[in-house]
Subunit: 337 residues, 2 copies
DNA sequence: CCTCCATCTGACACCGGTGTCATAATGTCA
DNA sequence: TGACATTATGACACCGGTGTCAGATGGAGG
């Protein structure tokens, strides 16, 4: 089985390789007859252009890099699946690059990544999408990028996020409507803008219902299950104990549920628990967690789609979009009595 | 900032680009003085070779593809992290390719993937690592590949797996030692060899302790949480009810736990539950699941490492290795009374 | 019928590296 | 010191595409 290159196609079709190239790229100025003839040869020889050669000539790699640093496996796979969908649609590939925001040399690391892999663009997921330093660096290096779930308001950054503040607000209202007033809150990782947004939504709901914010009910987590377990301990040791706990993500909520169950507390009768994200674990445990569903795949898909668009034909004004988060009630929250 | 190419390095160092190339690839027949001089220029100009150009010249892409079709997000991320570790070590990149084993045109899909992305090799994770059809296709196309957790015994396939049969045996023995004799078993997806291996370990343990296998206690799952929930229903409806359930993975075990808790069964007092894989959920729920820990990252890391070795310098005899699985006891299993 | 312009096509250099081979420089031994 | 092997280096083609530009072709208009 001989390799089929553009040369063999050209020879077989009796045209120059430039003409073949034109047909390949749907360029104008090819007569219908010639185009037809070349296309037929493509089929006959089962020709597939070599993306590496094309990449060299065009100085492109057709690869998008995806940066993440997140303890939630389900979040990561959802991000990947959205990104892959958009990439495949446009014949791009996805390079995954887990790395640490707090690493000693993030910029160097990314610089290295960019120059060794010749990425055409970068999708930044939290917490990278909130790193002004990184974004400045990319701008200066003239690298295309798109932000997922970023709080950064910046007219020339492609950005798709969901409305975390509103989601947290609705979830808190849901608890208030159930009669809860002592609602503990577990914060997320301080590097993520979601942490502040969710906390703001919680505060706004309390305020709106004239419930004073109690500092003692607020615990510092970092989105990991482990930090949730620590916070759970602090909260369940409180006296008086709150009647509800709102954790900034489902893993931490699961940790609260675990400890509560260990301590023979009945959920939701003795304690209501709510999370955020609608991770798989939220429905894999009993009672199922009331939570906020975010369209993670959709956010990433749109972000990558726009990124690729920007790469192929640079626009002056850039795509920015906020998607809705929505409340999902399960068994872990109930009326306070 | 001008682009630094091999030409500029050559000119700056006062040597030919071929000599620069030699230094780059650590080839012999370069005088120490010249090598030194060129290396210094590398540093000075911060030269990074263009992998695309190199790929074109060598007909290589320095990209490894990773195939998977698995409902477990944690399994996927563990696979990725092991694969990435090995890739980065050797300056390769990882292309992830989720796809369906049962898809109507798996071979076409892979063929497409290979020709459009010019992958240098493929890591197959279950269930692909058990697909003889796919392996035959890769052999015939002369594509390097490595099998992770495959049951296929094949002298010329790189393969790293863990001892699932032994793990299931030990877990079953653990239950038997606790006094259980009516131990239900939930099978995994029939396309995965792990399914049969784990079932075999279960059967061997029963046999060795002269406990007859009861067909009524065996349920058909497919590794998904959902299938676990279905099986759980069938098992908990049995009369008499078994005193223990061994699910072929932790997600299905979690489903059993959820249903048991919903039905007010106390775990482990009324029902012992065990899983397999040591997924994060096993320690995120209460009671924590007794399970078998598999070295997924390590398996994949070794597989990719050997794959890259095979690509760079083909060996006659090929690496094959079986890693140990190990029992982790948590709170979900206890003595039968 | 000739001019002019729009459309089509191909020759050729180029992207940034690597492989082949010839030649220059150096070392070894008789 | 000369013959020869060995090591070091560079010229040049090549990988498989794309960009540039010049030239060929064909139709409209005077």
């Amino acid at each position: 089985m001989k390799k089929v290159t553009i040369n063999s196609v050209a020879q077989y079709a009796g045209v120059s390789k430039k003409t073949v190239s034109r047909v390949l790229n749907n360029e104008p100025n090819v007569s219908p007859a010639t185009r037809e003839k070349v296309l037929k040869v493509f089929k006959e020889l089962d020709y597939r252009p070599n993306p590496i050669a094309r990449g060299l000539a065009r100085n492109k790699s057709f690869i998008i890099g995806c940066l993440y640093d997140n303890p939630s496996k389900s979040y990561i796979t959802r991000v990947q699946s959205g990104a892959l969908e958009a990439c495949h649609k446009h014949n791009y590939n996805l390079l995954i690059h887990p790395c640490e925001l707090r690493g000693e040399a993030l910029i160097d690391n990314i610089d290295q990544l960019l120059t060794t892999s010749r990425l055409d663009g970068l999708v930044l997921t939290p917490p990278f999408s909130d790193s002004r330093e990184l974004i400045e660096f990319l701008k200066q290096k003239n690298i295309n990028y798109a932000l997922v779930a970023s709080a950064i308001q910046d007219d020339d950054s492609i950005s798709v996020c969901s409305n975390d503040e509103q989601g947290a607000f609705e979830l808190t209202e849901h608890l208030i409507a159930l009669g809860h007033t002592d609602i503990a809150f577990i914060k997320g990782h301080p590097d993520h803008s979601a942490t502040e947004n969710r906390f703001n939504g919680y505060k706004r709901a309390l305020e709106q219902h004239q419930i004073p914010l109690q500092e003692r009910l607020v615990a510092e987590g970092n989105f990991s299950y482990h930090s949730g377990a620590d916070s759970a301990k602090a909260i369940l040791d409180l006296n008086p104990r709150p009647s509800a706990v709102f954790a900034s993500n489902d893993y931490m909520a699961a940790a609260v549920l675990k400890l509560a169950t260990q301590r023979q507390l009945r959920v939701p009768e003795d304690l209501s628990i709510a999370g955020f994200d609608n991770a798989p674990i939220a429905r894999h445990i009993w009672p199922g967690l009331t939570t906020i569903a975010q369209p993670v795949e959709e956010m990433t898909r749109q972000a990558v789609e726009q990124l690729i668009l920007q790469i192929s034909e640079p626009q002056d004004t850039v795509y920015q979009c906020v998607l809705e988060a929505r409340l999902i009630t399960r068994e872990s929250t109930a009326a306070n009595h």
